[in-house]
Protein backbone atom coordinates (compact mmCIF):
# COMPACT_ATOMS: atom_id res chain seq x y z
CA UNK A 1 0.00 0.00 0.00
CA UNK A 2 1.41 3.40 -0.99
CA UNK A 3 0.24 6.84 -0.06
CA UNK A 4 1.55 10.29 0.71
CA UNK A 5 1.19 12.56 3.68
CA UNK A 6 1.79 16.29 3.69
CA UNK A 7 3.77 17.70 6.61
CA UNK A 8 4.43 21.45 6.66
CA UNK A 9 3.90 21.64 2.93
CA UNK A 10 6.24 18.75 2.16
CA UNK A 11 4.80 15.57 0.64
CA UNK A 12 6.29 12.43 2.14
CA UNK A 13 5.74 9.08 0.40
CA UNK A 14 4.81 6.17 2.63
CA UNK A 15 4.84 2.53 1.64
CA UNK A 16 3.62 -0.38 3.72
CA UNK A 17 4.65 -3.86 2.64
CA UNK A 18 3.25 -6.91 4.39
CA UNK A 19 5.79 -9.76 4.58
CA UNK A 20 5.61 -13.22 6.14
CA UNK A 21 7.83 -12.24 9.04
CA UNK A 22 6.35 -8.82 9.66
CA UNK A 23 5.55 -5.41 8.32
CA UNK A 24 7.94 -3.13 6.44
CA UNK A 25 7.16 0.56 6.50
CA UNK A 26 9.04 3.02 4.30
CA UNK A 27 8.67 6.66 5.24
CA UNK A 28 10.53 8.79 2.72
CA UNK A 29 14.06 7.46 2.69
CA UNK A 30 13.74 5.71 6.05
CA UNK A 31 12.78 2.08 6.50
CA UNK A 32 11.20 0.49 9.55
CA UNK A 33 10.57 -3.16 10.14
CA UNK A 34 8.13 -4.54 12.65
CA UNK A 35 8.26 -8.24 13.42
CA UNK A 36 4.93 -10.04 13.70
CA UNK A 37 4.64 -9.65 17.47
CA UNK A 38 5.29 -5.93 17.22
CA UNK A 39 2.92 -5.75 14.26
CA UNK A 40 0.05 -6.83 16.45
CA UNK A 41 0.73 -3.81 18.63
CA UNK A 42 0.59 -1.51 15.62
CA UNK A 43 -2.74 -2.90 14.46
CA UNK A 44 -4.31 -2.12 17.78
CA UNK A 45 -3.67 1.57 17.34
CA UNK A 46 -6.81 3.26 16.11
CA UNK A 47 -7.63 6.85 15.38
CA UNK A 48 -10.05 8.51 17.74
CA UNK A 49 -13.49 8.62 16.13
CA UNK A 50 -15.73 11.61 16.14
CA UNK A 51 -18.79 10.99 18.25
CA UNK A 52 -21.58 10.07 15.85
CA UNK A 53 -24.62 12.28 15.92
CA UNK A 54 -27.71 10.26 16.64
CA UNK A 55 -30.09 11.40 13.99
CA UNK A 56 -33.10 9.65 12.57
CA UNK A 57 -33.48 10.52 8.91
CA UNK A 58 -36.31 9.95 6.46
CA UNK A 59 -35.46 6.80 4.48
CA UNK A 60 -37.78 7.88 1.67
CA UNK A 61 -39.72 11.01 0.83
CA UNK A 62 -43.24 11.23 2.11
CA UNK A 63 -45.67 12.87 4.48
CA UNK A 64 -45.34 12.73 8.26
CA UNK A 65 -48.64 11.19 9.34
CA UNK A 66 -48.04 10.75 13.04
CA UNK A 67 -45.26 11.56 15.49
CA UNK A 68 -45.15 8.89 18.17
CA UNK A 69 -42.63 10.38 20.60
CA UNK A 70 -42.15 13.61 22.57
CA UNK A 71 -39.15 15.82 23.27
CA UNK A 72 -37.10 14.58 26.25
CA UNK A 73 -38.66 11.14 25.96
CA UNK A 74 -36.31 8.20 26.46
CA UNK A 75 -36.44 5.86 23.52
CA UNK A 76 -35.19 2.33 22.98
CA UNK A 77 -33.73 0.53 20.00
CA UNK A 78 -36.56 -0.65 17.75
CA UNK A 79 -39.11 1.78 19.17
CA UNK A 80 -41.46 3.30 16.57
CA UNK A 81 -40.92 7.07 16.47
CA UNK A 82 -42.88 8.29 13.50
CA UNK A 83 -45.27 7.18 10.75
CA UNK A 84 -44.40 8.35 7.27
CA UNK A 85 -46.77 7.75 4.38
CA UNK A 86 -45.32 7.56 0.93
CA UNK A 87 -46.28 6.15 -2.42
CA UNK A 88 -49.60 4.99 -0.91
CA UNK A 89 -47.79 3.09 1.82
CA UNK A 90 -47.54 3.46 5.53
CA UNK A 91 -44.03 3.30 6.92
CA UNK A 92 -43.35 3.01 10.60
CA UNK A 93 -39.91 4.46 11.29
CA UNK A 94 -38.14 2.82 14.21
CA UNK A 95 -35.10 4.07 16.09
CA UNK A 96 -31.86 2.18 15.58
CA UNK A 97 -30.25 3.67 18.66
CA UNK A 98 -31.33 4.42 22.18
CA UNK A 99 -31.28 7.90 23.64
CA UNK A 100 -33.34 10.86 24.70
CA UNK A 101 -35.25 12.90 22.13
CA UNK A 102 -33.40 16.21 21.86
CA UNK A 103 -35.33 17.70 18.99
CA UNK A 104 -38.22 16.76 16.71
CA UNK A 105 -37.38 18.49 13.44
CA UNK A 106 -40.67 17.95 11.61
CA UNK A 107 -44.38 18.45 12.17
CA UNK A 108 -47.33 16.20 11.47
CA UNK A 109 -48.64 16.51 7.88
CA UNK A 110 -45.28 17.96 6.74
CA UNK A 111 -43.82 16.65 3.48
CA UNK A 112 -40.24 15.48 3.89
CA UNK A 113 -37.49 14.48 1.48
CA UNK A 114 -35.43 11.32 1.63
CA UNK A 115 -32.44 11.92 3.89
CA UNK A 116 -34.06 14.80 5.78
CA UNK A 117 -33.42 14.76 9.53
CA UNK A 118 -36.58 13.89 11.41
CA UNK A 119 -35.42 13.48 14.98
CA UNK A 120 -32.21 14.23 16.87
CA UNK A 121 -31.30 12.16 19.92
CA UNK A 122 -28.83 12.87 22.66
Amino acid sequence: MRFKIKIRGEEIPIEIIEKDEGLEIKIGEKKFFYKNKEKEKIEKITFPQKEKKKEIKAPISGKVERILIKTNEKIKVGQPVLVLSSMKMENEIVSESEGVVKKICVKEKEEVDAGQILIILK
Binding site: M89, E90, E92
Partner: protein, 172 residues
Protein backbone atom coordinates in the same frame (compact mmCIF):
# COMPACT_ATOMS: atom_id res chain seq x y z
CA UNK B 1 -48.04 -22.18 2.61
CA UNK B 2 -48.73 -21.30 6.24
CA UNK B 3 -51.97 -19.47 6.95
CA UNK B 4 -53.05 -18.51 10.47
CA UNK B 5 -56.84 -18.38 10.49
CA UNK B 6 -58.90 -16.26 12.86
CA UNK B 7 -62.63 -15.73 13.29
CA UNK B 8 -62.47 -12.13 14.47
CA UNK B 9 -59.47 -9.81 14.87
CA UNK B 10 -58.86 -6.10 15.31
CA UNK B 11 -56.83 -6.06 12.13
CA UNK B 12 -54.83 -8.74 10.34
CA UNK B 13 -52.15 -6.09 9.67
CA UNK B 14 -51.83 -5.40 13.37
CA UNK B 15 -51.45 -9.11 14.15
CA UNK B 16 -48.85 -9.58 11.44
CA UNK B 17 -46.82 -6.55 12.58
CA UNK B 18 -46.82 -7.70 16.18
CA UNK B 19 -45.47 -11.18 15.47
CA UNK B 20 -42.27 -11.71 17.43
CA UNK B 21 -40.58 -13.69 14.69
CA UNK B 22 -42.41 -13.01 11.46
CA UNK B 23 -41.83 -15.73 8.92
CA UNK B 24 -41.64 -14.74 5.28
CA UNK B 25 -44.84 -15.66 3.41
CA UNK B 26 -46.74 -16.32 6.61
CA UNK B 27 -50.35 -15.25 6.07
CA UNK B 28 -53.02 -14.10 8.50
CA UNK B 29 -56.61 -14.65 7.37
CA UNK B 30 -59.62 -13.43 9.31
CA UNK B 31 -63.36 -13.81 8.88
CA UNK B 32 -63.99 -10.31 10.22
CA UNK B 33 -62.09 -7.30 11.58
CA UNK B 34 -63.16 -4.74 14.14
CA UNK B 35 -60.53 -2.19 13.12
CA UNK B 36 -59.75 -3.10 9.52
CA UNK B 37 -57.21 -0.70 8.09
CA UNK B 38 -57.45 1.18 4.87
CA UNK B 39 -54.97 3.70 3.61
CA UNK B 40 -53.93 6.73 5.67
CA UNK B 41 -55.60 5.41 8.77
CA UNK B 42 -59.02 5.00 7.12
CA UNK B 43 -61.12 2.08 8.26
CA UNK B 44 -61.84 -0.82 5.93
CA UNK B 45 -65.40 -2.09 6.31
CA UNK B 46 -64.76 -5.67 7.46
CA UNK B 47 -67.88 -7.67 8.35
CA UNK B 48 -68.19 -11.44 8.08
CA UNK B 49 -68.23 -12.59 4.47
CA UNK B 50 -65.27 -10.56 3.27
CA UNK B 51 -61.72 -11.69 2.79
CA UNK B 52 -59.16 -10.07 5.10
CA UNK B 53 -55.61 -11.17 4.51
CA UNK B 54 -52.16 -10.03 5.56
CA UNK B 55 -49.01 -11.46 4.10
CA UNK B 56 -45.43 -11.14 5.37
CA UNK B 57 -43.27 -10.31 2.37
CA UNK B 58 -39.66 -11.29 1.76
CA UNK B 59 -37.02 -8.58 2.39
CA UNK B 60 -37.53 -5.74 -0.05
CA UNK B 61 -35.55 -2.82 -1.38
CA UNK B 62 -37.00 0.69 -1.34
CA UNK B 63 -37.17 0.71 -5.13
CA UNK B 64 -39.37 -2.43 -5.13
CA UNK B 65 -42.08 -0.92 -2.97
CA UNK B 66 -44.11 1.03 -5.50
CA UNK B 67 -44.17 -1.82 -8.01
CA UNK B 68 -45.29 -4.14 -5.28
CA UNK B 69 -48.61 -2.48 -4.55
CA UNK B 70 -49.49 -2.64 -8.19
CA UNK B 71 -48.30 -6.25 -8.48
CA UNK B 72 -50.54 -7.24 -5.59
CA UNK B 73 -53.59 -5.55 -7.17
CA UNK B 74 -52.73 -7.17 -10.48
CA UNK B 75 -52.42 -10.59 -8.81
CA UNK B 76 -55.88 -10.27 -7.25
CA UNK B 77 -57.42 -9.19 -10.54
CA UNK B 78 -55.70 -12.04 -12.39
CA UNK B 79 -56.92 -14.66 -9.91
CA UNK B 80 -60.49 -13.34 -10.07
CA UNK B 81 -60.45 -13.35 -13.86
CA UNK B 82 -58.57 -16.60 -14.53
CA UNK B 83 -59.98 -18.74 -11.74
CA UNK B 84 -63.44 -17.32 -11.15
CA UNK B 85 -64.29 -15.58 -14.45
CA UNK B 86 -64.86 -12.26 -12.72
CA UNK B 87 -63.56 -9.25 -14.62
CA UNK B 88 -62.46 -6.44 -12.36
CA UNK B 89 -60.84 -3.08 -12.97
CA UNK B 90 -57.70 -1.88 -11.20
CA UNK B 91 -57.51 1.75 -10.20
CA UNK B 92 -53.73 2.05 -9.87
CA UNK B 93 -51.97 1.38 -7.77
CA UNK B 94 -54.10 -0.31 -5.16
CA UNK B 95 -57.87 -0.28 -5.60
CA UNK B 96 -60.01 -2.91 -7.26
CA UNK B 97 -63.37 -2.08 -8.80
CA UNK B 98 -66.24 -4.15 -10.10
CA UNK B 99 -69.03 -2.51 -12.10
CA UNK B 100 -67.89 0.96 -11.06
CA UNK B 101 -67.75 0.31 -7.32
CA UNK B 102 -64.89 -0.63 -5.06
CA UNK B 103 -64.62 -4.30 -4.11
CA UNK B 104 -61.06 -4.49 -2.88
CA UNK B 105 -57.97 -2.68 -1.76
CA UNK B 106 -54.35 -3.34 -1.03
CA UNK B 107 -52.18 -1.64 1.55
CA UNK B 108 -48.51 -2.01 2.28
CA UNK B 109 -47.09 -1.26 5.70
CA UNK B 110 -43.36 -1.27 6.33
CA UNK B 111 -41.27 -1.11 9.45
CA UNK B 112 -38.11 0.78 8.59
CA UNK B 113 -34.90 1.24 10.56
CA UNK B 114 -31.63 1.34 8.66
CA UNK B 115 -33.32 -0.72 5.98
CA UNK B 116 -36.75 -2.26 5.55
CA UNK B 117 -37.16 -4.57 8.52
CA UNK B 118 -40.63 -5.87 7.75
CA UNK B 119 -43.17 -5.45 4.98
CA UNK B 120 -46.73 -6.56 5.45
CA UNK B 121 -49.14 -6.58 2.55
CA UNK B 122 -52.78 -6.20 3.50
CA UNK B 123 -55.66 -7.24 1.26
CA UNK B 124 -59.33 -6.56 1.79
CA UNK B 125 -61.70 -8.10 -0.73
CA UNK B 126 -65.48 -7.85 -0.62
CA UNK B 127 -66.29 -11.37 -1.66
CA UNK B 128 -69.46 -12.53 0.07
CA UNK B 129 -70.65 -9.40 1.88
CA UNK B 130 -74.42 -9.21 1.35
CA UNK B 131 -75.12 -5.59 2.18
CA UNK B 132 -73.34 -2.35 2.94
CA UNK B 133 -74.26 0.49 5.27
CA UNK B 134 -75.82 3.59 3.69
CA UNK B 135 -72.60 5.61 3.84
CA UNK B 136 -70.79 3.04 1.67
CA UNK B 137 -73.60 1.87 -0.65
CA UNK B 138 -72.76 4.33 -3.40
CA UNK B 139 -69.07 3.49 -3.55
CA UNK B 140 -68.65 -0.11 -2.41
CA UNK B 141 -70.01 -3.44 -3.49
CA UNK B 142 -69.19 -7.14 -3.33
CA UNK B 143 -68.73 -10.00 -5.74
CA UNK B 144 -71.80 -11.69 -4.23
CA UNK B 145 -73.99 -8.63 -4.84
CA UNK B 146 -72.75 -7.98 -8.38
CA UNK B 147 -72.19 -11.48 -9.76
CA UNK B 148 -74.24 -13.63 -7.42
CA UNK B 149 -71.30 -16.00 -6.80
CA UNK B 150 -70.28 -17.11 -3.33
CA UNK B 151 -66.54 -17.68 -3.13
CA UNK B 152 -64.63 -19.76 -0.62
CA UNK B 153 -62.37 -17.18 1.03
CA UNK B 154 -59.64 -19.66 1.97
CA UNK B 155 -59.40 -20.94 -1.61
CA UNK B 156 -59.31 -17.39 -2.97
CA UNK B 157 -56.65 -16.40 -0.41
CA UNK B 158 -54.43 -19.36 -1.32
CA UNK B 159 -54.67 -18.57 -5.01
CA UNK B 160 -53.88 -14.89 -4.42
CA UNK B 161 -50.85 -15.75 -2.25
CA UNK B 162 -49.57 -18.15 -4.91
CA UNK B 163 -49.94 -15.49 -7.61
CA UNK B 164 -48.25 -12.78 -5.52
CA UNK B 165 -45.32 -15.13 -4.83
CA UNK B 166 -45.00 -15.78 -8.54
CA UNK B 167 -45.11 -12.09 -9.39
CA UNK B 168 -42.55 -11.13 -6.74
CA UNK B 169 -40.16 -13.82 -7.95
CA UNK B 170 -40.52 -12.42 -11.47
CA UNK B 171 -39.74 -8.93 -10.16
CA UNK B 172 -36.31 -10.04 -8.91
Amino acid sequence: MKILKYKKVTSTQEIAKKLTSPQVWLAILAESQTKGRGRKGDRWYSPKGGLYLSLILPPLEFEDLEALLFLASFSIAKVLRDEFKIDVFIKPPNDIYLKGKKIGGVILENIIGRGIKLSVLGIGLNTNIEKFPKRLKEEATSIKIEVGKKLDNLTVAKKIIREIKKQIKALR
